[in-house]
């Protein structure tokens, strides 16, 4: 430990928490609070309270100077969804897609029956096509994971470098969430709800498209 570092007692959500100061990252404050029993999670938003109920948001990587008067709050966003939207398994599937494609924009449009239509933007296409990237769209049904994720959709102007047709399993001029789209029909004959996920299926379809002739 740096000889200038020392333990400082701060408040996190009105609970005294001992941290290593005087300068510390936001994420470390949250972790220390969690370790010392404060009822927060690491993904809560941290803020430092200033005067007159004003506060400043502290990012995970932000370094702050702390002292015994420092007061922090860690708060979660309050998620709201209509009762008929996003069944839990569907929401988990979407989380899995985001984790599998970090940095890619994921657009979710909830259905009225608990499923969702999803678009993942900017997926690399690889060699066979003139275009470098495409979006991929698909629907997760409300009975997921018991139902296959099928079909998928990509940009409608996809062209092969070898100027051949699209090939089997690809049909143009469909519509997905308002976008003109090519439909990719790749049904999983052995879909296993204990093992298969929407993210895994998407990876398989992407790989298939990259290898397609």
């Amino acid at each position: 430990m740096n000889s200038q570092n020392h333990e400082v007692s701060v408040l996190v959500n009105e609970n005294p928490v001992s941290v290593v100061g005087p300068r510390i990252e936001g994420r470390m404050i949250k972790q220390a609070a969690i370790d010392q029993g404060v009822k927060i999670r690491i993904d809560f938003i941290l803020s430092e309270e200033q005067n007159d109920r004003k506060f400043k948001i502290i990012g995970d990587a932000d370094v702050v100077t702390v002292n015994k008067n420092s007061r922090f709050h860690a708060v979660a966003p309050d998620d709201n969804s209509e009762a008929s939207l996003l069944k839990t398994d569907v929401a988990d599937a979407i989380e899995g897609i985001k984790a599998t494609f970090p940095g890619k924009e994921v657009i979710v449009s909830a259905d009225a029956d608990g499923g969702a239509s999803v678009i993942v933007e900017d997926i690399d296409l690889g060699m066979p096509f003139d275009q470098e990237k495409t979006w991929f769209g698909f629907r997760i049904g409300f009975q997921y994971p018991h139902g296959d994720i099928y079909p998928h959709f990509v940009r409608n102007d996809l062209k092969r470098k070898n100027a051949s047709g699209l090939g089997p399993g690809l049909t143009p001029n469909h519509n997905f969430l308002g976008r003109n789209a090519i439909q990719i029909s790749r049904r999983s004959n052995y879909w296993d709800p204990t093992r298969d996920t929407a993210a895994l299926k998407l990876l398989k379809v992407i790989e298939w498209l990259r290898r397609s002739q």
């Binding site: 998620d79 709201n80 969804s81 009762a83």
Partner: protein
């Protein structure tokens, strides 16, 4: 059985909230309610003081885990205000649908993730979530002691009372022949509402005794009636069902002082007569006659879980306590009286009038309207000896005339106001072609056959009904009433 949780919302707060949640776009919107609380054996009441609207696109944004989220910055801003003012925080949004609503799994998971932290921030005030459909509410309330309850219903109080449930309540039983004629107006639902209501009446004299009889005959299920006095022979002309025997008139008009003293001690208490009247009118009624002064804390606290209050006593102190209970506990009330002013010097009788003043937690209070005179409060705190020693002039009202017919106009109108309000039949706003508003004070002047309306004013900085942090509005059990501590006075 644990008491139910009832969220009480003033009409103005509800109007603001409803417009925000249901603007006609069919979409979800969010907001927060700042609430006080009051607990009794009957129910736990969450008292909505104000709504903080979440701005779409800034405070209420698309979520990664859900359709929409309330932004943590918005939540923290509300939480810090509640923390500093000692209030609770309810975060809310709406779903589609009309007459029923429930939380989604996403909603509940979010509560379980985030509310323990909010309980810590709010320093042990209540935290919770609400979800609304157009005519429905569901609530998940987290208490500092670790308890967690659902909201049974919400009551919107104002010019008309309405209720929201999670789903439509079952059809009430038929009213029976006893109330058949009035059930044709109020319906079986209205009659059921009367039967479940607890109403407080402050004062069992001329006006209060009439209110008591009217409410009992309407079918109100529970009445608390408060008055410290015994019947005087001069009251018999005005107190319902009273007699010379109740007043011990013969003894009290006897030439022997000791017999007069016996008469003074044997005369019936006014609340005992009221109790008798109520039971005659409704054998199933629960009536609590309290021989006591509402200015004493132990008596005043008997009213804080009422659903409606009538003030039929004219002391400034009683007005102060009544006004405080209405606003601190969000209980709608009505002040009634009749006055025959007499000029002290000339003896000339002025214009007699009956008056009805609705007092609801929305529209200005008796204090805002100069109806609680500080000088009178000071006078009333003095003993008779102190008053005489300071040679205060006797208030002409003490000897003023009082007439049952004037009282009955006020009492009848006030109980009509109650009946139509609580059954949801009253008009919430001014009717086309009419000049009076639902909150207006009404004066009936019989000599000129005149009915006058007076719009109450509201002082935003009022300590009783204002929105400042120092106001007692919606504070519930968190602050004390302006009452006398009973233990110091025996």
């Amino acid at each position: 059985m644990k008491p139910l949780v009832n969220l009480v919302i003033p009409y103005s707060v509800w109007s603001q909230l409803k417009s925000h949640l249901f603007p006609g776009d069919g979409d979800e919107h969010g907001a927060a309610l700042v609430v006080g609380s009051a607990s009794s054996e009957r129910e736990i009441r969450l008292l909505a003081k104000k709504v903080v609207l979440a701005k779409d696109g800034a405070d209420y944004v698309p979520g990664s885990r859900s359709y929409r989220v309330l932004n943590p910055s918005f939540i923290l801003q509300c939480a810090l205000e509640c923390r500093d003012d000692g209030m609770g925080l309810l975060l809310l949004h709406n779903h589609g649908g009309t007459n029923s609503v429930t939380f989604s799994n996403v909603d509940i998971e979010s509560h379980e993730r985030g509310y323990p932290a909010l309980l810590d921030i709010l320093r042990q005030q209540i935290v919770g979530g609400l979800v609304f459909a157009e005519n429905a509410i569901a609530g998940d309330i987290w208490f500092p002691n670790g308890d967690r309850r659902t909201v049974d219903h919400a009551t919107i109080v104002g010019p008309v009372t309405t209720r929201l449930y999670q789903s439509p309540p079952p059809r009430p039983p038929a009213s029976g022949t006893h109330y058949d004629r009035q059930a044709r107006l109020f319906g079986d639902r209205g009659q059921e509402i009367f039967s479940k209501y607890k109403v407080g009446i402050i004062g069992a004299g001329g006006a209060g005794s009439l209110v008591n009889e009217f409410l009992a005959r309407l079918g109100v299920g529970h009445i608390v009636i408060i008055d410290p006095e015994r019947l005087d022979p001069s009251n018999v002309s005005r107190v319902v069902d009273s007699s010379s025997w109740d007043a011990m008139t013969r003894l009290r008009e006897n030439r022997f002082r000791w017999l007069r003293c016996i008469g003074d001690h044997l005369a019936a208490h006014k609340v005992s007569i009221a109790s008798r009247v109520a039971r005659k009118a409704n054998s199933r009624i629960r009536i609590e006659p309290i021989i006591g002064n509402v200015v004493n804390d132990d008596v005043a606290m008997r009213l804080v879980d009422c659903d409606y209050l009538f003030l039929a006593a004219d002391s400034a102190q009683a007005r102060l306590v009544f006004n405080a209970i209405v606003h601190q506990y969000l209980i709608p009330g009505i002040q009634i009286g009749a006055k025959v002013p007499v000029d002290q010097e000339t003896g000339v009788v002025g214009e007699p009038y009956s008056v009805v003043r609705p007092v609801v937690p929305d529209h200005g209070c008796l204090s805002c309207n100069g109806l609680i005179l500080p000088s009178k409060i000071t006078d009333e705190t003095l003993s008779d000896e102190q008053r005489k020693a300071q040679r205060y002039v006797e208030d002409s009202e003490i000897f003023a005339p009082s007439v049952i017919t004037l009282n009955s106009v006020a009492a009848g109108h006030a109980t009509n106001e109650f009946a139509f309000n609580v059954t949801g039949l009253a008009h919430a706003t001014r009717r086309p072609g009419h000049h009076n508003d639902p909150y207006d004070y009404i004066y009936f002047e019989p000599r000129g056959r005149v009915i006058r309306y007076e719009s109450p004013r509201k002082n935003a900085a009022c300590r009783e009904c204002g929105m400042t942090s120092k106001s007692r509005l919606a504070r519930g059990d968190a602050v004390t009433l302006p009452t006398r501590i009973r233990s110091q006075n025996g």
